[in-house]
Structures are given as C-alpha cells and as structure tokens.
Point group: C2
Amino acid sequence: MSQKNKIIEPKVLKGFSDSLPKIEIQKRRIINKLEQLFSSYGFVPIDTPALEYTQVLLGKGGGETDKQIFHFEDNGGREVALRFDLTVPFARFLAANFNELAFPFKRYHINKVWRGEKPQKGRFREFYQCDFDIVGVDSSEADFEILSMMNHSFSKLGIKNFKFHVAHRGLFNAFLTHLDLLDNSVEILRAVDKLRKIGEDKVKEILIEISGDEKKAQLILDYIKYDENETFLQTLSRLSALSGGEVEHTTRMTEIYNYLDKADLSEHFILDPSITRGLDYYTGIVYETFLEDLPNFGSVCSGGRYNNLASLYTKNELPGVGSSIGLDRLLSALVELDSPLLKQSSSSDVIIFNKGSELYPIGTMLSAQLREKGLRVDSYLLNKKLPQQFKYAEKNSIPYGIMLNNETISENTFTLKNLETRETFDHISLEKAVEIIKGN
Amino acid sequence: MSQKNKIIEPKVLKGFSDSLPKIEIQKRRIINKLEQLFSSYGFVPIDTPALEYTQVLLGKGGGETDKQIFHFEDNGGREVALRFDLTVPFARFLAANFNELAFPFKRYHINKVWRGEKPQKGRFREFYQCDFDIVGVDSSEADFEILSMMNHSFSKLGIKNFKFHVAHRGLFNAFLTHLDLLDNSVEILRAVDKLRKIGEDKVKEILIEISGDEKKAQLILDYIKYDENETFLQTLSRLSALSGGEVEHTTRMTEIYNYLDKADLSEHFILDPSITRGLDYYTGIVYETFLEDLPNFGSVCSGGRYNNLASLYTKNELPGVGSSIGLDRLLSALVELDSPLLKQSSSSDVIIFNKGSELYPIGTMLSAQLREKGLRVDSYLLNKKLPQQFKYAEKNSIPYGIMLNNETISENTFTLKNLETRETFDHISLEKAVEIIKGN
C-alpha cells in the first residue's frame, strides 16, 4: 500500500517547460496571425516528421549541430534523431517529394525543433521555428517577396521600430576573391559572424590568424563596417568598389532595393555588410532582424538565398530564398515590449454563473445562442457561492458574467455584470447583452 | 570530389510521413475549427514538452505502452522519452502547475504523440491527438458539457451520421461486485474491450478463464450486449437491475441523459454497455464515437470520467472528465467520406501572372490591395509562357488569374480570368474583380 501511494515528482527536463494557458493563448495567436499572413501570399503549409534518420539530418556532419542533436537507437536498431531545425528537413522534403510539388514552391512550416544546447535565458531545448521559403526561382522578385513578407509579418504583429539588416554573400565572396582569400571564406564568415558577440579586436585576431596578413584583416574589418551616414545605394557602391567593381550581385541588390523603394518599404531596410550569417549554404542576399527598442536582443528573424540547399539529397538544382522566425524568442521580445497583442488573454468573453442545477439547462441554451453570435462562453460548474465564482472569472480575466434567475426567465431576460467595473445591467435581453459584451 | 557529390537517400522512417500541402491545409483547417470551438466553450490551450523523463511518463509502468514508447538516454545521462499520449503529460502538468491554475480547469491540447507501434493502415508512429478535459469537478453538468462539445465538434466538421456510444464504468463495477468479481475488474475490462476485434466466443473463453465460472462469463456477456430495441433509459434500468438495483451511477446517467434530451442532442447518444475502455483510470461515464457511414472504422473520439488521474504525481484529488479525438484517423475518415470540408485546398484565391519585371511593381501594389480585401494572392515568379503559368495555377487549384497589361494600367484596370471556365473579363476594376472572386 505504501508503494502504491508513492508520489512521482512531476518535474520536466532542464531546458524544457510547460506552456501555461496565458502563454499558450499568446503563442497560438501569433501563429494564427502568421499563418493567415503566409496564406494571403499564396504560401502553403507543410510538415515533416519530428524524428528522422540521424544520417539524413546530419548529412556530412562535422558542424556544431552534431553535438546538440538529440539522437538514439530506436527499438528496430535504427539511428534516429529529433530535428534540430526546419531547414534540413525541408531540403530532404524537397528531394523526396520533388515530383509532387508545383514550382516555384512557396511553403511555410511552423513547428517544434529540439537542441541539447546549454539552457540559458531565452534559449530552450525545445522551441518553435517558423520558416517560409520560395524554392525554384533565383530572381530579385523572389528575394523581394520574402523581404516584403518579413516586413508585413512584423507590422501585422503590431511591432514598431524593427530594422532588417541585409547584406549579400556573393558580394562578400567577390571581395574575398579580390583579396585572394576565397578558399578561407567559411572560416572568415564564422569569424565575422561573431562581431557582435566578441567585439572587433578579437575578430581581428582571428582574421589575422586565418589570412596571415594584418592588412587584409583590416580590409575585411573595413568592409564589414556599417556606416549609418551612407544611404543603402551609397554603401552598395562602396562595397562594389572594394570588391573590384560592379558585379551581377550589385545589380541584384539594386533591383531588390528599387522594388523595396517602390513598395514604400525601404526605410525598414539597411545594407549592413557585417551581416554574414555563419551558415555556409547561403549564396545570395542574407538578413537579420533587429528590434530597435531591444538593442541587445539579437536577431528575431533571419535567412537568405541559397542556391543549392537540397544538393545533399538530389541532383535537381533548387535555388531558393527564405526566412525563419524564432517564435519563442519573438514572444519573449513581445513580452519585454509590453505588446498590446499580448494584452487580451481572457479564456472567455462571458461566463454564465452557476445558480443551481434547475437553471443549468436554461444556461446551456443561452450559451449556445451566445456562441452563435460569435462569443466565447464559459459556464461555472461548481456549486459555490458567488464571490468564489467571481474569483474564478477574475483568474481567467473574463470581463462579463451572466446571472440567471427564476423570476425573469419567463420574460427571456437575465442580469449581466461587467466584472471589472462591477456595473450591473438588470432585465437584459440576449441581443442587448451581445451588444454590450462586444462593445467592450 | 566524388565524396562530396554522394547523394543521401531522402527517406523517412517507417511509420512516419511527410505532410504535403493538400493534406496539411486540411489538417490545419480541422485544427483551427476545433480550436475555435473549444475556445467558444471557454477552454484554454496548453502545451507540454514532447520529451519527458521516462519514469514520469511510464509511472509504475507495466502496461502496453512500455514496449511502444520511444525512449533513450540523453547526453546528460538522463532516461528520457517522447510522450505517447496527451493524458499522462496532462496529469503531470496538473500536479506541477496546480497553484497556477483556476479550477474547474478546462483545457484543450492539440499536438503530436509518438508510439513505436507496428505501422499498418491508419496507424502511424507519429500522430496528432486532440484532447479536451474539465478537471476539478465531479458532476453530471461537467459530463454533459464534454458530451455536448463532442457533438458540436462533429457537427462543426460537417460530419453526418455519427453516434456516441456511452456506458458507465461505475455501473459496470457495481455489476462485477454483484458477481463477486470486482477484484478481476481490470482483466475483465480488457477482455470485454476486445469484443469488436476478436468476437464473442473468444471473449467468453477469456472470461471463463478469469472468473472460473461459465455462468458468470455468460452473465457478463449478457450485460454488455447492446439491444437496439431498448431506449437509453430502458437499457439503463435493465443494467441497474443486473447490478442489484439502482445506485448513484444510475442517477448520474439519468441526469446526463435528461440534459442531453433537453438540449435536443439525445438522438446522437446510445447507452451501449459493451463500451468499457481498456484503460483502468476511468471511474465514471465512458464513451466511443462511431461513424455510421464507416461501420468498420473504429472509434474516432473516446474518453470518459476519471476521478484520480493525477494521483501518481500529487495528493490533490483531481476528478475530471475528458475526450480525445485522433486527428489523423479522423482526417482519414473525412477523406473516405469525401467530406466537403476537404474540397477547398487551393493555395490562393487568385494569382497575378508574370508579364515581365516592368509590370512587377504594379502587380505587387495590386496584390497588397487584394490582400487587404481579404483575398489570398499568389504571384507567379518565373519568366515562362502563359500556358506554363496556367499549369502552375491548376496544380495549385487557384480559381482566378489576373493579367496586367501596359495599355490599361493608366485606367486602373486589368484582365481577370476564371481559370476553370476560361471565362475572361477585360478592363476590370479592383472592386469588380474582388466581387467576382469572392462570389465564387
């Protein structure tokens, strides 16, 4: 008997957490808004398995991810792993389903990924990613479309003061070619990507080590310096000159800028050559997104153009461009920004208080009618005194309550109470109540 | 070089599958409808980690799930496992977050679970579950609320001819007590639960083995026999008599039936004593849902009342009642039923065809305006001839296309084409186009 009553501690793993209603309501609201937005651009949703063959996910391996991935041998002796991003599974998906898809293929994918990273503030071992990509076309129009969707996403979420920092990987490679350092591009990219984290001096040290040349290291640092007094096109022209003159990438960036300008979006975009993105699959434009009101928060939406993402899995060439929003990080940012989007987290619009089981069927009927009018209606189910019922409503941030009473049922009215102001409306009809509740 | 070009086969694990856009659009539509419905009843969403301590998920263990669970040792040497249902994590969640929650707590949880089951038709190793529960109250009103939400869910999904088969675990236990077989209740429940699968003769054999009494085995079989000529209340009264007379459970079932009847829902509910549910945590009403047009499909929504679900993790008593919809199975059913809900799977309402990059910014502006009117607007991004663009639209089931041309831009009109009927509207304004597209 003592065995049977032994309590198991209900703990979760380090780096994982339960999502309580107030947070989950907000998360679902953000996801719904983004889904609606992506759909309005003709993007379609996909999903892939959470669990895949380890070898498929790691490819040739050797990266940081190898250490962070959750992997194990399943009961059938297969080496399997939980996906650590939505990019690799997407590449695999494109190869596996190539003949089923209509290209250019525009997809979004919002779901969880898992990484055994060291847990720290804002870093979790389980988190949502939200990716959207256009695959099958290499053009400034496709690049622009992703950028304009990023812009639209942030506006739609009610975020103000965001800036997209863009650069071009091809342009940077042209510059490295000019310096005769193209063979070291991956190491240089990774070094430059650390600029914000470790500072200029440390990056210079690493660059000298890579290039064996203090002058070249300095040239790289000059190249990646963002000058806020230059316009987008001035910076572009300076970078082109540093790379030995105009190249096709200069033209591409000019075209993209012109589209942004014509669409009245250019004020949100900065040409910032320090943006390089550490990942080596990018080949064209790259970008990160910063919230000006949270300068130390880091990027909340990043991506770029890759012209051969699925090459591990297929010989079909699949140029693409895409972006990824870190939903949990974005949610943390919205919390810090005290976003109005997160204000409304009531579980219902109105609650029917419990006045005994004889009145319950009347309440049920009333609830059904209110739901048909588009309201969310809770009904209190315990036989408790009214003050305790009010407490429940308060804990759930429910703004209105309805009290039925035997005397007024015959006239089809009831009492409506604004639970915040304590204002009471007696002998009120269904129509009038809906009006008051919606008016709030 | 040859190493670098080696292709990795883009395969997925057995029992897992990619979700292509047509399926994923449908799945998301169903999920959104259910989320809306649950919210309209004041239910709030929660989520729990996909990965938990194995010991927490398996509890005292010993069940079928032990063999099916995906579990492993993580890099920190912890024994961890992927959740195999949303019920056990919910019990753990209730214990862990008891002080944060407002009771009665009404929650829904829609997310994936993983089981290493033998893959077969309609059985996957990764699938969505959709659970909704009311915890903290033991009353006929709470039981009724879950039943009426089940009914509302199926209506809202446009499903016709569904029947909820309900029974009462407490009533069945009273019957077993009467037969002096209560100590064997778990084995008997599991045997009876197999009736549909293995047939009456086999079940009888097992029951004789358990009870050691052919007569008692026959009495059990008589008890669980559903007689379609009886009304709900007649069956209830017969079962009570077989259990030695009326008990509190008879009263509870009568109350629930009366609420269903008053809400005009009783025609969808059948008192079917063969429904026992194999799981031993149920203590009150239990139910399964069958689609009459797919008689061999099995239950698509099941659950019941449990009065001590979280007892493994807490000493707080948490009576509850809930239900679980197997979303992937329901989706398969909807496909087989050729449900109208699945008809609309276009990626967009309208597509702007590509007439060259000079017209692209105009198309962008037009798209933005159409989106503001609530339309989903794709824009074709490759420089291809029109027939190829039509093909893309067709593959994506997009019903309308817009062609811009230089001559009519100044008058703010364009050409709209119904891509199904091939009907063409020239010199059409934005307002008129929206009207036509929405009218469809």
